[in-house]
Symmetry: C2
Subunit: 743 residues, 2 copies
């Protein structure tokens, strides 16, 4: 592939991007699309109707300006800490690759280009390999330039990473302290409540905590079985009972409700209705039968509330009894963040679920090799011609060659990769996360490993797999193997940035799937009202791995094939604008992980650096430059030490809340006399069922309805007033059916 | 090597063992050796003098009877929980290898022996390879016998492991609850106290804990700098000051001591003397200079005492501030268990120490390959003859051949291995363990990895290294590689059990080094008194890895070369008697890790099983028995699941104390009205310096003196009386010099 082919590819992509972005700037002004492009604003208030004027059909860059001008504080208020962390990832990438681009294009690129004494062609017709480190001849004294560039990139990256980690730790602390009182700080989730034949789970929990934590225990809230499977079971049981008793008349009785939803305010009503229903159903089957049935619906899990944040934290972190499978305590997720249907999984199942999912993920990664290897095979034209002789004529044409080698493999890969995030989300659900953010975090990690392995390593080794079958002929030879393979594949990675990277941003901003759904509803089904309400959350589990993958490619290829850097830098700048726009306009914030994505980003960046250094070491070894290799080793050691230091210094803050911070908050609340008010509102925060009528309670089983308190209601920096103490009542009836998408 | 050679070797070893054991039974009766063989009893009481009679010089098996008859309760009282755990490891090995020996000799050995249709020689002259799985021909239908044996061994091992883990968890709980009030339950160790120019560490600690934990904070005890390095620095400083001021007269002044050893009883005296010394030295340099000097001796570490066990636990487990490098809290080790000189290591150094030690350990393992490879080369006579042609004549003699192939390699290996434990103990010290038991545990893990790697893997692959250089030609081919190499090396492992195993027990019981020291002192130096007082603790860091290594060899070789099993079983029975005898008579218990060695033993046993299965899988693959391979895979999966289940079910109990247990203990103490008494005694428990005169304080810097409360003072099962509440005051002046041996 020569430079002209690359530029053709870049041109095609730029054209596509420009067209799509212009289209976006027009489409967003159409009133009919407002629920596609302004879902977040819609969720908070009705937007005013637009006038029909010419301006609506002229592309304009106003969204770019808005995205650019938004400050971090605004982003924090609108998108939460996770949005800020995501934005910092992109900013970090822009900064580090700006430095890398300057140093590599000024210093490394000329060294590569004039690396061997040969007659240079016209630059556009130069093969791309001339610009890589492969063109530097063995034993060249100019390899110090690469080594110096590696030093500068590493130092820049490490100092930026340190600063970011520090500032995000502080942001996280502010997020904890400055936000209005958070019910999750006062609550813990208890699982593995021991079953006893004499008393219900509810009584067991009350007895245990009022005995062992009498001074701090406030109340609790049992989790009930819910979801589609449970409903089907209940219905079947109901039908069975009805048929056997031969009595269909429902006579509301006034028996006391056995469901103890302590202090749950109006919400007890809903369960009272359910249990009344059971009552009526078993009206004649006697007290004991009824008792058993009411208890059958309780899970061995409960939310327990404490009188102070510190008490909740200590109980959550301690081992409760000598049997670690009983009374398992965790800090409760925020009410909106609870993934209710996973709470009912018996705790002793969890370890086996985790292992199974671990095995399943590995299997998935292995099976995925097959289409990727095939897609990669397309880049090698000669192989393709041998395999499909009838294509020989077509493949001689220059344009087709450029298309096939430069574009087609990436497209195939991208299409296959679209199936991965839903799969990983399913895995994360089955694994048993108790919170939505935890599930997304788990899916994010899985997608990240998957992406880096399948895009980078498989592509790097697929080239060598075709020529020689032994992939890992030796672990110690891995650097040399990588050093041979990576520069060869650098061209592919450059085109991957062009196709997958740029196109993904254009697709992201266009929101193609919701757009088509909207059009279909409006013009085919003829709906007038907005039926699709904006309730998408930001898909961190797909976008974080994407950003980190491009960072990984950038670090590993920067000194080997510096031509990738301008394209990458363009990608990150575009990503900065696009994602900020999406956070501001499209996605709503239902829950927040509190910046838990940053440790993932930090670790990936450091691992990328280490890989870049190992590959550089291999290359310097192949080029027989002992000086450059010698200087790379201390850099490698220092990077590892830096990583360990950051783990020690910052990571614990992301795992646990600090005692000092929580005690200070508790005391502040006590001084304000606000604590009683907090306790009152605490009871209604974690309520599994809706407080509305029975019919809604049962009919809305399939969907999810959430009343979300949008953050715009709170002005940034505003003193927390009494009314801010209220938090959203989580009215949710979850289903067992895993939600794969962006919720 | 044929069976006769093996039996020759076994005969030699049995003779050596019988001679040594007889010698031991005589030597132990000599009054002059009482401090070598009855160190533990000496530490508690003077033994009565022996009469000179003929009986003293007749070997007798009384010690065997005593060791056999001791019950677990007695062992627990005398040797502590660690001794019981060690004894359980040996018992577990005896049980599982009894089953393995029966099944393998009845079922597997005949299958191996008649595996191929050939004319058998007289059994004694049969090559040992005839008894291994190598003799079974490819595609044999009799391989189900091996598979069945593997199933029986795995099931026996897993059920025994589960039972042992459960019973040891219970023992650990009893150890925590039934023992007299333990000061370590009320204390935490705080490191990384922030330095402030205005106040001393002591004030900072007081301020922090009385502010944030006001309801539970009791008092604290700052750790002071001590040890040889600090003494040298102090002396140099003193000399410098003396010379510069030109004033040598010491005038004791009555300035107040700045060393705040809260409630430390008499022990404050010692530090007062030190600080008075500084006072006198700086008599004219004014108050501020003196103030700074007194503060310089404080470390950024302190023991903080709380009013209840539960409070101490919660503070120890929580992150204290938003900076995880400050106010780092851990549960305090028991007073006798504290490794004082490591407490002064600044906390920010610890992570880099750990990494360095990790790197150093790996380097040590790699460098160690060289002598082992050479030693292993001796087993291949032809190679040896080629290398040293002048030996050719000697090497033709049959006896020499048997000696060289059967005995010499093991002896060389054993000698080299003796250098390892001190090295690993040094590593564990530098790593910064805060307790002696923690240090021994860390050394134990290191020695274990080292031993298994260097004895098993290096020997297995050393054979293939000589013939073909590529050790790891592929990770996926590892089972096949192991399957080829292990049966070949099984003979070596059998002789290793004979030589290293049996001999190590004989050496252990003979206590050769203390015996020679004692003889040297008595007969050469002419000492009359016992100068060597029994203060050896049990060397768990060498003996646990040894037991586990033989277990590893047993599991991996059992179905491949069943002839190893009788020798191994004999070793374990002997080990049972010898180690019990040593625990009863020789070693004293200074500190106890509370059964922390069991998780190591459990994990090693499970990993051994997994290795055995992987190797079996490789062998079945090589022998083209798909049925046997197919049946091995579910066994492998089940073993992994079993391991994970045990991790979930039992491991947390060994990491943390349960809230329920501690609160119950707290309440019991409160009911008894014993709590005030505990608080009073708490203050004197953790005292770094001796309460005796200044001269002793400085002169005993090099050694270690401990007044140990021997457990015999407490009758097993006796109701804890008021006087049992007193615990030993730890009077200790540690040196920076790491103690490598059994302390």
């Amino acid at each position: 592939m020569d430079l002209a082919a690359l530029l053709t590819s870049a041109g095609m992509n730029i054209t596509v991007c420009v067209v799509l972005f212009s289209l976006y700037s027009v489409l967003r002004k159409q009133p009919s699309n407002v629920n596609v492009y302004f879902g977040r604003k819609l969720a908070s208030r009705r937007s005013k109707s637009h006038d029909v004027c010419l301006e609506r059909f002229v592309p304009s860059p106003t969204w770019v300006m808005k995205a650019w001008e938004t400050t971090q504080e605004e982003l924090l208020t609108i998108g939460g800490l996770d949005a800020v962390v995501f934005s910092r990832m992109v900013v970090f990438s822009i900064r580090v690759f700006s430095v890398a681009a300057v140093i590599c294009i000024v210093l490394v690129l000329p060294v590569n280009y004039y690396g061997q004494d040969r007659i240079h062609k016209n630059i556009p017709f130069e093969s791309l390999e001339v610009f890589t480190i492969e063109n530097v001849k063995e034993g060249s004294r100019w390899l110090w330039a690469h080594c110096l560039a590696l030093y500068i990139i590493t130092l820049t990256a490490c100092s930026l990473l340190y600063r970011e980690y520090k500032s995000i730790s502080n942001l996280r602390l502010t997020h904890i302290t400055a936000s209005p009182p958070n019910p999750s700080h006062f609550a813990i989730l208890v699982r593995g409540i021991p079953w006893s034949p004499e008393q219900s789970y509810c009584d067991t929990v009350k007895k245990f905590f009022s005995f062992y934590h009498s001074s701090t225990y406030l109340s609790h809230q049992i989790v009930y079985k819910s979801g589609a499977v449970q409903k089907l079971k209940d219905d079947a049981e109901y039908m069975c009972k009805m048929l056997s008793s031969g009595c269909g008349s429902v006579q509301p009785t006034c028996k006391p409700s056995f469901a103890q939803c302590y202090f749950c305010g109006g919400s007890t009503n809903s369960f009272k209705i359910i249990s009344n229903d059971i009552d009526s159903m078993h009206g004649r089957s006697g007290y004991s039968d009824l008792h058993i049935n009411a208890r059958k619906k309780e899970c061995a899990a409960a939310f327990v509330f404490f009188k102070s944040r510190y008490a909740a934290l200590t109980v959550a972190q301690n081992l409760q009894t000598a049997n670690p499978m009983l009374w398992v305590t965790d800090l409760a997720p925020e009410p909106q963040d609870v993934y209710w249907s996973n709470l009912c999984i018996p705790y002793r199942q969890l370890w086996i679920r985790k292992i199974s999912i671990f095995a399943a993920s590995i299997t998935f990664v292995l099976v995925f090799l097959i289409p990727v290897t095939f897609a990669q095979g397309l880049t090698q034209l000669e192989k393709l011609e041998k395999m499909f002789p009838f294509l020989a004529g077509t493949l001689q044409k220059k344009f087709v060659i450029q298309l096939v080698t430069g574009y087609l493999p990436s497209v195939i890969l991208v299409l296959f990769l679209y199936a991965v995030p839903p799969m990983m989300m399913l895995f994360a659900t089955v694994e048993g996360s108790i919170s939505r953010s935890g599930r997304k975090l788990s899916a994010c990690t899985k997608v990240l490993y998957f992406t880096i392995w399948n895009v980078f390593f498989v592509n790097v080794f697929a080239g060598s797999v075709i020529s020689q079958l032994a992939v890992f002929s030796s672990i110690t030879e891995l650097p040399a193997q990588l050093a041979k393979a990576v520069p060869v594949q650098a061209t592919f990675f450059t085109t991957y940035v062009l196709s997958s990277g740029w196109a993904s941003l254009a697709f992201e901003i266009m929101q193609l799937f919701p757009l088509f759904c909207n059009l279909f509803q409006r013009f085919i089904l003829g709906y007038k009202e907005d039926t699709m309400n904006g309730n998408l959350t930001f898909p961190y589990h797909t976008e974080v791995p994407r950003i980190l993958l491009f960072g990984f490619l950038g670090f590993t290829c920067s000194i080997l094939a510096p031509l990738i850097l301008p394209f990458l830098l363009f990608y990150f700048v575009l990503a900065y604008l696009v994602y900020r726009n999406q956070i501001l306009n499209v996605y709503i914030r239902k829950y927040d992980s509190g910046g838990q994505f940053w440790p993932i980003a930090h670790n990936t960046a450091v691992v990328s650096l280490i890989f870049a250094q190992v590959i550089a070491l291999g290359v310097f070894g192949l080029k027989r430059s002992t000086v450059a290799s010698g200087f790379t080793i201390p850099l490698l050691i220092c990077t590892v030490l830096f990583h360990q230091y950051c783990r020690q210094r910052f990571l614990p803050v992301f795992k646990n809340n600090a005692t000092q911070v929580l005690i200070d908050m508790d005391r502040k609340d006590e001084r304000c006399g606000r604590i009683e008010q907090i306790f009152e509102q605490l009871h209604s925060a974690y309520c599994q069922f809706t407080s509305s009528s029975q019919s809604e309670c049962f009919s809305s089983h399939q969907g999810e309805r959430e009343i979300v308190r949008t953050p715009e209601d709170v002005e940034p920096g505003k003193e927390i007033s009494q009314q801010d103490l209220s938090w959203p009542v989580h009215r949710n009836l979850t289903s067992d059916k895993p939600v794969l998408g962006g919720t």
